[in-house]
Amino acid sequence: MLRQGSRCLLSRASAASMKWRRPLSTDLPAETAGDSKFVEAWKKLNPNQDPPKTPSSYMKPRPPTPSTIPSKLTVNLVLPYDSVLSGKEVDMVIVPATTGQMGVLPGHVATIAELKPGILSVHEGNEVNKYFLSGGFAFVHANSVADIIAIEATPVDRIDPNLVQKGLAEFQQRLNSASTDVEKAEAQIGVDVHSALNAALTG
């Protein structure tokens, strides 16, 4: 009886797993396979309650990796309070990574980049849009989708140069007079951001 039980489990499991392959995170049906395990486990323990949903059920599935390099890069720029760009097709973006300005073209290798305060420029045809980013992360996926997550992004023409100079001076003063490590770190961050703003305005 035991062997029979294991055999039928085996057959059921093998039937189910035959369809599975190592999934890409860009492949949605694989996500639901993982979620269905969760749903089963949940139903076993809490039969009277509906299982909670997970974020991937609220997301549109991402396109799979194409075999040829696409001609356009799809960019999503998201902020906590707004999605500035979502699904925009562009030619190139230049992101301010901590290692320097990084250009991303369609077909770029998959990358996770940490961003420092600086300018993000979006090139589409002949027009270039520049945003000053406060810092965040940028993900470039293998299917030529670039996600840029930042806390603040303002168009460069909205920055007031006087306030930038004032802020820079103030933070430099604070850095000189800082006593504890925490104060020093905060002042240093302020100096970094303001000098980046300065560079953005001049450059």
Binding site: L2, L9, L10, M18, R22, T54, A110, I112, D147
Partner: protein, 415 residues
Amino acid sequence: MAMAALRREGKRIAVPLISPNPINPLRSTLASSQEQTPFGVRSISTQIVRNRMKSVRNIQKITKAMKMVAASKLRAIQTKAENSRGLWQPFTALLGDTPSKLLIFIVYWVKGNRTHLKAVGSSSQLPHVEKFETSNITSKCYLPLSHSVGPRDYFLFVICGYADVHSLSGAFVAFQLENWSYQCAIICPLGVDVKKNVIVTISSDKGLCGGINSTSVKTSRGLYKLNSGPEKECKYVVLGEKAKAQLVRDSKKNIQLTLTELQKNPLNYTQVAVLADDILKNVEYDALRIVFNKFQSVVSFVPTVSTVLSPEVVEREAEAGGTLGELDSYEIEGGETKSEVLQNLTEFQFSCVMFNAVMENACSEQGARMSAMDSSSRNAGDMLDRLTLTYNRTRQASITTELIEIISGASALEG
């Protein structure tokens, strides 16, 4: 006899009011008003009904006002919540959704002097079956699997007897088998691959918002059950008074941190980032599961759980392959080491996901309060209608009885 008369009186008045809703409190107040007036006086006091009507009318006004307030707050916060929805999508696209990883271990154990651990794989990818024999069962039996254990693989072993599963890490499964005899199979579903789960439950501080806080707490409890087991621990971090009140009752020792009064100032990212920092500093975790109510529409709120894995687990999973297997193929720019960047990523992901969760929960709270107050004011309106009918009948009945007395007295005098 007096009781019978009172009962008859009560019935005559209450008969036209027979409705599906029980109005026993009303009848009892009327009966008591009759008892309070001295026997013989026929005018039933309408004062009591009038008082009740006044209080119900006030309640109706209050609940209507609360509904308006909730509606305006909802309008303000709804746009912000919808704008913040794009924030967590890149993280889910990169790291996937990992509610749980299920690995079923069933070990075959034949009685006798030798133990056969037969790994029966279910996926076509399993290259070959490992057979492991040992004569000494009290020693630890290591079963090296040539195929690395990933989230989509089932390795079926039937455990007959007692087995202590010592560790599950990548390609190794270690068992210590204690008992010889052939017993019935115990199927141990080893739930998740994370040992320390922290469930962050988000709820409201104020009440009168329908059932959303209870659903959040029920979901958290369900997750707790799912993630508890040997060698696994599960803790709560509670945001909001209402969930704290409910969880403190039975899981007091599992609550690590509680935070209240989130909505004193309007929600913004900085506040949530500080909150997230606080939680990350004080809590040891392998996986953070954030439970909140997602705002789908003004009348529908869906309990949702979002998972954030710790950087060590992410690295481990990326190496082991599976859902996060492609993470290894991503180049890391910036930072000195990969683990530093992964740590920053995790913290950033947590704060973003928390921000969205807190906003969605706030929206759900206002929406739920709106519908609760709406049904409350409608109910108060119904009660008021019924009370008005009772009031009119009481008034007319007393007028009628007075007239009857006068007329019968007059006719007695004449004739």
